[in-house]
Amino acid sequence: MTKQVVSNWFSKLGQSEKNLPLLIYQGIVYTPQAVYDEVMRGSPLGDALQSLIEKQSFGTSAEDEQTVAKLRLTQIMRTKPDKPLFATLSGKVFTPSELLGEIENNTDIGRQWVGTEISHMRRIVSVR
């Protein structure tokens, strides 16, 4: 295993992605920044996290994936101005806080965003 894999992966991510929770290892959630720091330190934990990146895995159960996805969306939406930012071609308009309400209430819209977030996490961990 080479640290270069994680270094290259990390450098290709946008700044906002680097600080969003992504991997779960032994019950603890790690951001790409934390993964990078640990791998560069060369610790046994870093080796384990690097292994997850190389396998393009979150190291989580389906239930954990949902939890991490909701955490990520909450973190994203709370940094945005609370004005209408999102619209659909069925005539709906949402502010970030309204969208978070859909996610918390597990509506069709909320489930669509959570499902997409899980796909997005797969895409992020697969960036090369």
Binding site: G14, E17, F86, A87, L89, G91, K92, R123
Partner: protein, 253 residues
């Protein structure tokens, strides 16, 4: 009347945030239209049900593309006025045509009904189509991005490709836009998080039905002119001149 090749009808309402998509569609048409194509754009108040149906009957365009609010059974145009639903008796206006609806949910019931009405192809969405309204229409890559991917389908049809290639181009454009926001030049943009997710949702819910071999705007016959062609002709002329000269010279002896 059968659908006419090289004839396109675009429906571009403006109200209820539809200008976010219509301005992008208008720009894509301008950039991709080719000589010989008959293109009608119904913009703003002209994008009303009566006018759209009138043009469908009058022009019989092989491609009809529009943006509008919709649901499982219904597609609407300006002022959310209904154009078609699954019970419309005039869905046959779409027979023989490629129908591309940038709208929510129409792939659930209306899209299949349009194919049942003998349209040759249909594109649309099976859940919500999302877009970003954090800036004025057409002013940033973020507000344009979802529509750049969506309208790549008609851009490719205008360029002369068939429906299958145009669909492949649309999906490829989705990936390009997603990668732009995740790991490309847009990755540190303040809107990158929202846009990558919106595009991923729209791509996952995009639907194509019908035939892949339809080519609405086949290429006009052209004469191949390459950089080497003049030199080829000059070379042939010189060779012929030499042979004629030698023939004449030979005869003179």
């Amino acid at each position: 009347m059968p659908a006419l090749e090289n004839t396109f009808l675009f429906v571009e309402p403006q109200q209820h945030y539809l200008d976010y998509g219509s301005v992008v569609l208008h720009d894509i048409i301008s950039k991709n239209r080719r000589a010989g194509q008959i293109i009608t754009e119904l913009i703003g108040p002209d994008a009303n049900p009566d006018r759209v149906k009138q043009e469908l009957g009058r022009m019989s365009p092989i491609v009809t593309c529009g943006i509008g609010h919709g649901n499982e059974t219904t597609y609407t145009v300006e002022c959310t006025a209904k154009l078609f639903d699954t019970s419309s008796t005039d869905l046959n206006l779409l027979a023989d045509k490629v129908v591309s609806l940038c709208s929510c949910l129409t792939a659930v019931e209306l899209g299949p009904a349009i194919i049942d009405a003998e349209a040759v192809a249909y594109t649309g969405y099976k859940t919500e189509f999302w877009f970003y309204i954090g800036a004025d229409p057409g002013t940033t890559r973020a507000v344009q991005s979802p529509f750049l991917a969506e309208f790549e389908f008609v851009a490719s049809l205008l360029q002369g490709k068939n429906t299958s290639s145009a669909r492949a181009d649309q999906l490829k454009k989705y990936d390009e836009e997603i990668n732009y926001w995740i790991s490309g030049d847009g990755k540190n943009d303040t809107d990158a998080s929202e846009l990558s997710r919106i595009l991923e949702m729209n791509k996952a819910n995009s639907v194509f039905l019908g035939e892949g071999s339809v080519q609405p705007s086949p290429s006009a016959p052209t004469i191949l002119v390459s950089g080497t062609t003049p030199w080829l002709w000059i070379g042939m002329a010189a060779t012929m001149s030499f042979l004629i000269y030698r023939e004449i010279k030979g005869k003179s002896y």
